[in-house]
Amino acid sequence: MASDRSLVVWLLLIALLLLLVINPLARLLWASFEHPDTGAFTLENYAAAYGRWRNVEALINSMIVGLSVAVVCTIFGVPMAWAVSRTDMPAKSLVWAAVLGTFIMPNYLGAVAWILMAGPNAGWLNRIYSALTGASAGPFNVYSMTGLVLVISCYSFPYMFVFTRSALELISSEMEDAASTLGAGALRTTLRVTLPLALPAIMGAFIVVFLEAIALFGSPALIALPARFQVMTTTLWQMFEFPPRVQVAAAYAMPLLLITVFLFWLQYRIIARKGFVALTGKGGERRLMHLGPWRWVMLGYCLLITSLSFFMPMAVILQAAFARAWGRGFSWDNVTLRNLRFVLFDQTATRMATLNTFVYAAAASLIALGLALAIAYIVARRLVPFGRVLTYVAMAPFVIPGIVLAIGFYAAYTAKPLVLYGTAWILILAFATRFLPIAYTNSDAALRSINPELEDAARILGGSRLLALRRVVAPLLQRGLAGAFILVFIPATRELSSAIFLYTTGTQVLSVLLFDKSDEGNFELLSSMGLILVAVTVAMVLLGFRLIGRDFLLRRTAT
């Protein structure tokens, strides 16, 4: 019962939460019904947004992309997770490291690399194919719906991998033993017993991946446009053209919001049947399934996928970053450090953007984590009535595509009274809001792992709640929170879809710089910048490993 002075603190934090999440959403909703010139209530914006078939088509395209990506990610991620978690496949560390590398690489950088690899006329893969088979052209065309789906899937499947793996870790081998004593072979056991037990996690990841895919901006802008189709995010982008029509954009974005809310609700319903995992229990050890010669097949599959997502694109990026003229292809006389030097030392924009990227990401992570922890605490200890509502609010940004959130932030904070536009704060707060759900899920899980009696013991001995938090809870949460920090930090460093609307001169970040470079034909510089982004992020992650241990990325439990 919060009858002490700390009530003021809790209320302030709740107010901050509402400001960050509800305010932009409310402004967005308001803007969608607002006439651009007179400010009167109107349905014109919706008519303008959905009256054109082209825009409706873009919505349909987004849905197709989202669904396809989710399916492909399932095909990629589930067998990999199963192989790493439950079998005796060799070289698991390598596969794990490659998945981590994939997670770090921004999807728009991967898209650029893929254009080089699978461009229909001159992509390396096509050239190799032609050389091997004598055909005039290769079959791979990145500039297509298939191409876009594949590229996005490459950078989204880590979610599926991590979710599935976490679930599989909890299943005791006794479940499988029961099947095998009844005569079922390894494959049948896996398909009929093991995987179905992980189904809630897989479905949860399916929905997460779908939502991510329809909200992406970077890859579609690079691939869909030349492929001659639009998706919702690129359409929204064009609505900010000259002259910008925020109101129509807001109206157009609303159904996206509704679709994602529906899916979020669906996910909650499915995951809420926690009995699945609880039943499998933590009792019983986990033994690895022996695959015999098939374990090499599995390894091959895993390496194939991570080649597509990480190894090949990295090779392409490296070649371009160190090339004088990437069009000339790889040769020793084409190697130079000039690009890196220019990017690191001569171009002040890069240095500033790099600094900004990591400072904003760190600040946003701290804010998100601090707020998430406080809200999770308030809810877990029932300090206010209707605590569950706070959970929904904290998780709400999850269902808002980055670009929509940015438009909301733009609408909310470019007009008085609170003008944040033009400052670093609008970016930091937008990032913090965007990643609040991840921070919340992890804070909540970490808090629940602490026995409330540890706090009660401090309180009964005379300490206030805040003292108990400071001396008992916070030290115990360190590990969990450090892991959560990195899980927010990494996506924040490469966040593009919200940054693209909110940055200005002094507040440019690397993702936007990279994106702007992509229409300049200077692939060498672009790759150099991408390399820097990836390298620094890897350094941070390795630092995280040292501080926390190898398992920190597995803290992503289902909601």
Binding site: I115, A122, L225, F242, A325, R328, F342, T414, T505, Q508
Partner: protein
């Protein structure tokens, strides 16, 4: 022949004249020092530009800072559409960020002038401007031409020989280039918009209907064509002379063709933003963009100079030697929004 005391003064005079002639363009304009002082007080300024590419913008900024120490130049290089968007957002939020705006889309300037976002300034270096370009200046001095470029036919030399290469614009619709030709998008790039308007003027919209049958690769910016050519995704393109030649100088297998029916001459203007935080620095910068030093820098970056006294880079033909065509300012203003729609209908995007 001995040097007699009578020929000495003549020789000296010739020497001095020669020295002056080759000494380089150290010509100050009237009031330069005072403007420099005023700009120094402002310390720095921000420039939103869609002209050139990032390296050229960086080089111009560095050149400016060298010539006028104490004034820092910050550039943001984007496509025209994004540059306008940035300014629009700033204006709506009442934020003073940019001092100079350089868009390649003429219709932007009409709108900006109408919305009152620009302030007038008649540059002292105006006489330095190529005469033909003056037609693109604002009669009320709210914007002035500071950049020029050519859109012409470009190709990849490792795949296409000089004889095979297209010679005029219509050649791009030849079926032999099916799936191999690259263009930009008028919705994103001012250069592309102008090119489309001119093509429509020359050949009617049928040109594009025919072009669509060749399934061109459409990027965002005119500079995307360079990427496509280098990747060999496309092997011919309607591309920018400057960026293509720059890439070629790096060693990439590219070449340009000055079309028989005329290369499109792009003249892009710059304006000083009305609520510029650094109006004096902005004025100084406009002067610099028209000055010989500034144009020397442009030339080093393979851009076409707008200063009549500065010669273009080696390998490029001077604008006066080439057949250029260009829609008028009014044609561009009206035409670009119109062709954007037609483009979307024909190409679906």
């Amino acid at each position: 022949m001995t040097l007699s005391h009578r020929s000495l003064p003549a020789a000296l005079a010739i020497l001095i004249a020669l020295a002056l002639a080759t000494a380089g363009p150290v010509l100050a304009f009237d009031g330069e020092a005072a403007l420099h002082e005023a700009a120094k007080k402002e310390k720095e300024f921000t420039w939103y530009t869609a002209h050139y590419n990032s390296e050229t913008a960086a080089a111009l900024c560095q050149g400016f800072e060298k010539k006028y120490p104490g004034v820092k130049c910050n550039y943001i290089r984007t496509t025209a559409q994004v540059a306008y968007q940035r300014l629009a957002q700033d204006q709506k939020a009442g934020i003073a960020q940019a001092s100079v705006i350089s868009s390649t889309d003429q219709s932007h300037y009409t709108r900006m002038k109408k919305d009152g976002w620009l302030q007038p300034y008649k540059p002292k270096n105006l006489p330095e401007l190529v005469d033909a370009f003056r037609a693109f200046n604002d009669p009320d001095d709210q914007f002035v031409a500071t950049a020029a470029g050519l859109v012409l036919i470009t190709y990849n030399t490792s795949v296409v020989s000089a004889t095979e290469a297209p010679k005029k614009w219509m050649d791009l619709t030849d079926p032999k280039w099916k799936g191999k030709v690259s263009i930009g998008h008028p919705g994103f790039s001012g250069y592309v918009g102008t090119w489309v308007v001119e093509m429509k003027k020359l050949y009617g919209w049928d040109f594009f209907k025919k072009l669509e049958q060749n399934k061109p690769r459409i990027g965002r910016s005119i500079n995307d064509t360079v990427t496509m050519l280098n990747a060999k995704e496309s092997i011919v393109a309607a591309g920018p002379a400057a960026t293509t030649l720059e890439s070629k100088a790096k060693g990439n297998p590219l070449a340009v063709v000055y079309p028989e029916d005329g290369a499109i001459l792009m003249v892009s203007a710059s304006g000083i933003v009305k609520n510029a935080p650094a109006p004096n620095a902005a004025r100084l910068f406009i002067e610099y963009l028209l000055s010989r030093e500034g144009n020397e820098v442009m030339v080093q970056q393979y851009q076409d100079p707008v200063n009549k006294h500065v010669k273009p880079m080696a390998g490029a033909r001077p604008l006066t030697d080439v057949k250029t065509i260009r829609p008028s300012a009014t044609e561009i203003e009206k035409g670009i929004p119109e062709v954007k729609e037609l483009f979307r209908e024909t190409f679906g995007i």
